[in-house]
Symmetry: D2
Subunit: 335 residues, 4 copies
C-alpha cells in the first residue's frame, strides 16, 4: 500500500518534506498540499502529481489523503493537528506541536478522547544513527544509571529574524526532546545563563546561551546553544553514568593531511547533518501508517513536554533564575 499524504504548509521545510517523500523514500506519495501562498504550494508540488487545495481543512478532509503532514508556521500547528485528530487521520507535525501549553493540552485531550494515538512530532534526532546507538547503550545499562549529560548545539550563523527566545524554542527544543528520551525522564527545572555575547551577531540577540536542566530523577543536563559559532554546524552530546559515559560520534569526513595539519571538514548546516535521520524518520512513519498501527516516534505527550520546558527556558532567559517546568504527570495513555 502506498500512503497518500497531504501537506499543510509548503515553506522551506514543507517543500523539503515533499521532496523527501517523493524522491528519497518509498511507500508514500504526496497527493495534496496547501499554503497561504498558493503559488508557493504549486511550486512545491511541481512534478509530483499532487494538487493544490485551498486550505488545511480541505487537505485533511480529502478522501484520498490517508495521512497529514503539518509544516505550516508554529502558531498554526495546533489547529491542523486537532482537525486531523477529529478526522481520525494520522498526522505528522513538525515541531513545535503547539506554541502554548494550553494548545498542547487540548491536543492531548482530543487524542485521548479519540482513543488511540494519531500524532507524531518531528523530532528527527530520535532517528539519527548516533543517538539511536546512545539510546541502546544507556538502555542496556552499558554506562550505569545516568547522572549528567553535556550537550552542545552550534550553528554557523542565523538570520536577523532569529531572536533570543528562539534559542530555547527553535534550537534547544531538540535537546529537550532527545534528553528526555535518552534519560527516560522528565525535565523538572530549567536555568538559562548568558555568557558574554559574541560580537558576531545581530545586536538584539543574546548568543551564546548556556542552559541547565534538572531531570525529575535528579540527573543534570547542560547545554551550550551557540548559533553564531562561525565554523560549522555541530551537535555534541555525552551522557555520564555511574559506570561510564557514552558520547555521540563526530560526523565523519575525510582526513586531509597537508600544510602541517590533519583536518576534517565540518558540516555547515543541519540538513546535511541530519539528512539520513530525516529519511529514517519518514520511512518509519510511512511504514507504521501503512500498517495501521499507532506510530512509535515522538508523540503528542513529547510535544507537550517540549512546549512546557521551552516556556520555562524562555522565562528563565528573562529572569535569570531557576524556573520550575511544572510538568504534569504523564497519562497512562502515553506510557
Amino acid at each position: 500500500m502506498t500512503v497518500k499524504v497531504g501537506v499543510i504548509g509548503t515553506g522551506w521545510i514543507g517543500a523539503e518534506h515533499i521532496r523527501r517523500i517523493t524522491t528519497s523514500i518509498g511507500g508514500a506519495e504526496v497527493v495534496a498540499a496547501t499554503d497561504i501562498d498558493a503559488d508557493r504550494a504549486a511550486r512545491a508540488v511541481e512534478g509530483t502529481g499532487a494538487r493544490v487545495l485551498a486550505d488545511g481543512t480541505e487537505v485533511i478532509a480529502a478522501d484520498d489523503v490517508d495521512a497529514v503532514v503539518v509544516t505550516s508556521w508554529g502558531p498554526a500547528h495546533a489547529e491542523s493537528v486537532l482537525a486531523a485528530i477529529a478526522e481520525g487521520k494520522p498526522v505528522f507535525c513538525e515541531k513545535p506541536l503547539a506554541t502554548t501549553a494550553e494548545d498542547a493540552q487540548r491536543i492531548l485531550d482530543a487524542e485521548q478522547r479519540h482513543g488511540s494515538r494519531l500524532v507524531q512530532v518531528g523530532f528527527m534526532r530520535r532517528f539519527d544513527a548516533g543517538y539511536v546507538q546512545m539510546k541502546e547503550v544507556v538502555s542496556s545499562g552499558g554506562i550505569g544509571a545516568p547522572l549528567m549529560a553535556h550537550c552542545v548545539h552550534r550553528n554557523p550563523t542565523v538570520p536577523e529574524t532569529y531572536h533570543s527566545e528562539m534559542a530555547a524554542q527553535d534550537t534547544a527544543v531538540h535537546e529537550i526532546d532527545v534528553m528526555r528520551w535518552l534519560l527516560d525522564d522528565e525535565i523538572s527545572a530549567v536555568q538559562v545563563i548568558t555568557p558574554r555575547p559574541t560580537g558576531n551577531r545581530f545586536e538584539h540577540l543574546r548568543d551564546p546561551q548556556f542552559m541547565l536542566f534538572e531531570m525529575a530523577g535528579g540527573a543534570r543536563v547542560d547545554l551550550e546553544v551557540f548559533v553564531n559559532c562561525r565554523y560549522g554546524y555541530e551537535i555534541g552530546c555525552e551522557v555520564v553514568g555511574e559506570e561510564g559515559t557514552v558520547r555521540l560520534p563526530e560526523i565523519p569526513g575525510v582526513v586531509v593531511r597537508n600544510s602541517g595539519h590533519r583536518s576534517t571538514p565540518v558540516p555547515q548546516d543541519w540538513t546535511t547533518r541530519f539528512a539520513a535521520a530525516f529519511d529514517a524518520e519518514f520511512e518509519a512513519w510511512v511504514r507504521e501508517v501503512a500498517a495501521g498501527t499507532p506510530t512509535t516516534g515522538p508523540n503528542a505527550w513529547d510535544g507537550y513536554a517540549a512546549t512546557v520546558v521551552t516556556d520555562a527556558a524562555v522565562r528563565s532567559l528573562h529572569s535569570g533564575g531557576v524556573v520550575e517546568t511544572g510538568i504534569k504527570d504523564r497519562p497512562a495513555f502515553y506510557a
Copy 2:
C-alpha cells in the same frame, strides 16, 4: 515520471535491491522480476505489486519495463546486459559486468554500436560519502599528484564457498574500481603476495592476501584483503600525493568509556557499512534514467577494466609474480 524496473535474479542481492527500490528510494517501482527459482522470485516481490516472469528475455522485452536490473549470478550477467542493449533499455548490472574479458568486450562493442551508453555497473563505493569527499580532494589538487595509495578490505568471516580467487573477483574488485576512479588512471600490472595464512579459515582458502597494483602513470596501490579478520567489516583507504594525503573516514559510532577503555563498535557487514551508498547509487540511477540521459555512474568500460584487472590478479595469485593487465586503450566513446 516513475521509472518501472524489471529485475533479473532475485537471490540475496536482487531481493535487497527490490526492497530498496520499493521502500528506501522514491521515483521507481519494480514491475517485473524473474529468477531460475520462480518461488524465490515470488517471495522477493511479495507486496510490491510486481509480477513474476519466466526469464530475463521476457523481463527485458516487457513493454512496461523501462529499465533493467541484473542481479543474477555472475556468469549470466553478460547475456542479460547484451539483451538489454539490444532492446535499447538502460541496464544496471551488479558486478561483475562479465566474468571474462571476451564477454566484457562484446558488451563494449554492442553498446558502441547502439550509439549511446546504457550500462551502469554496481560499484556502489563511488556513491559513498567518504569516497566522494576523497575524490573531491584529489580532483581539486588538495594533495597534489597521487603517488601511492594504501587500502584494506576486511570481512569478519566468509562462508566455505568463498575460494581463494574470490579475493580478487569478489572482494578486491571494489578497490580495483574505486582506485581507477580516484586516481583517474588505469591499472597496468598486479602482484598478489600471500602472507602466512590465518588459522581462522577453511583449509582451502588463502587468506589474507596482499595485492600490489601499478597504475599506468606510475603510482602504486597496495591492498590488504583479509576476509577472516574476525573483528568486523572495515574498509580503509589513504591516497598519498605530492603535497599531502587524504584518508577515508572511519565509520562513526558512539564512543563508550567504561572498564578502563574508550571504545566504538565496528560495523559487522557491508550492507550496514554501505547502506547509504547503495541508496545514493539507486537514487542517482533512477533520476538519470527518468531524465533519459546516459547514467554517469561506473559504465561498461569500468566493468571491462575491472574484469581485466581481476583476471590478472587471479593469474598472479597462482604464479606469485607480477602480471601485466594488458588493458587496451579506452575508446573515446567512454571518455
Copy 3:
C-alpha cells in the same frame, strides 16, 4: 651549576618529587629533607646522598640549600613559604599555597616586601603539552575572544578520606588555575550544583559535582568533577571563542581492533597522565632558579587566587547559590 634542593615533607608527593629531581631531570640534586616522620624522610632520600634534618626551619636555613620544595600537608605550607621568603630563597610549593585567604595574603605581602618573586606554586598543568598548545591557540587569536569553556575532571575512585569539600580544594583547584591562565582573566563568581549522587561512593561524599565559574570579563566556565567515574582518569577541556574552539587532546593510546570494537586504553591515574608535565615543570623551575631569575610558572598571586576561588566554591557547595569570590585587584608586582 647544579641547584641544591631542600625538601620539606616527604609523603607521597614529596617522595615523588625527590625521585623526579634525582632521576628524571638534570641540573638539580636533593641535599636535605625533613618530615614529621623522620624515618619516612630517611626512606625518601635513600640512595640520593641527601641528609635528613630536624625540621623545615633547618632545611631552609641550611647553607647548601639553594632552593626549597614544600610538600608537607596543606595547612603547613604557608609557614614554610614565608620562612623561605624571609631567607630570600626560591621556593616551589605544592598546591595549595595556603588554606586560607589570610595566609595567602601574608605571602603576597612578604614577597612584595622582599622585592622580587621567589614563589612558584605546583600547578603542573601549565606545563602539559596539550594545555600549552591550547594557550598558544587562544593567545594567538586562533579562536577569537573566549566566551565559554567546558571542562571535565574525572578520577576512577577516591579513598574514604576524600570529602565533599575536596572536590573544590583538591580537584577543581587545577581547573581554577588553568582556566584563569588560559582565559587570562580572574574568576568573579562560583556556583556548585549537585546532581543525583552516584551509588559508587562512600556515603558521606557528594559526587559528582557540577561547577559554574563566571570570569570577570563575562566568559563562563563549567566543570564536571566526578571522582568515582570508574572507567579511568580523564581531563577534558574545550574553550569556545567568537571564531572557533580549541580542545585538549585525548590521551593517546594504541587502537586495538578486536571483538567487534576498536578501543583504546584510558590512563588510570594522574601521575601517568601528567608525568611529562611534572618533568617539564621541574626542568623549567630548576633552569630558572639556576639562572637566578624569578621563575615564570604560577606564582604567589595565582596561589592566592586559587585559594579565594576554592573558598567560594566550598561556600557554594553548602549554600547551593552563586557566591562572589571577592578577589582583589592584582598588584602590579604580579603583572
Copy 4:
C-alpha cells in the same frame, strides 16, 4: 651512583645527547667528549664541566669514564664500539652499529669473547610509549598471531645530501628494528618498489620508496618511506593478527575548530615526535649501567640484523627484485 659518560662525536646528535644527559635525565653526567672538530666538541660540552679529549681512544680509556656514547659518523662506529668492548665498558652506539655486515660480525664476536653484553644500539622507538603499548598487546596475544603489518615513515623534507640508499640505511632502519622486535622474528627477504617519484625532491633522489619485508615465520610487512611528504613528520604502524589489529596512536595535538574544519597540528620533526622516547631510552640505559647489569635495550645482535637487512634493501633498490637477507641464526648469547 652517578654514571660518568664519555661521548665520541659531537655533531648534531652527539650534542643533543650531551644536552639530554645533562638536563633532561638524572643519574648521569658527561665528563669527557671528543670530536674530529675539537672546537665543536668544546662548544658541545660548554657549561657541563666535561673536558675535551684528543680522540675516542682517550675517551674510552679515561679512568673516570664509566660508559661510552658513540655518536660519530656511521663508518667510525664499529671501531669505537670494539675499543669499548676491549676496555670492558658499556657502550651506547647510535645506529648504525656498523655499516657492513663484516664489522657488525666482528662486534658480535668480540662481545661474546668478552662474555657479557656491553653494547646497546640507539633504536629509541622501543622506548616510545605507543610502541611499548603495541608490544604489550602483541605479546599478550590480544590480536592473535601476527600476519601482516603496515607502516609509514614520512619526513617533511630532507637535505640534498640525503641519497636514495639512505631511505633504507637511515630511515627504514627504524622500522626494520622495531618490526623485528614487535613481531619477535627475523626478516628473511626484502623488496623495494619505486613508485613514480614526487617532484618535490632533489633530482638524484628516488622518493617515495615502498618496501616489502618477509619475516622468517611468513608474516609480511610493508613500509612506505616518503621523505619529502611536505606536511609533517609522521610514523604509522598497524600490526594485523589472526584475532584483531593494533595500531600506533596518532600524535596528540589540540583540536581546533574554525573556518569550516576541525584540525590538529602534526609534528614537524622526529626530535619532537620522539623526545620522550629518547629520554626514556637514556634513563633506562643509565639506570642499568649504574646497576652493573647488561642493558636490556636493543643489543649488538639487533644492530647486526639491522645492518644485514638494510644491505639487502639497498641491493633490492638497485635490482628491483626480491633479495634474501641471508641472516644467520641468532647465537644463544643473544637469546
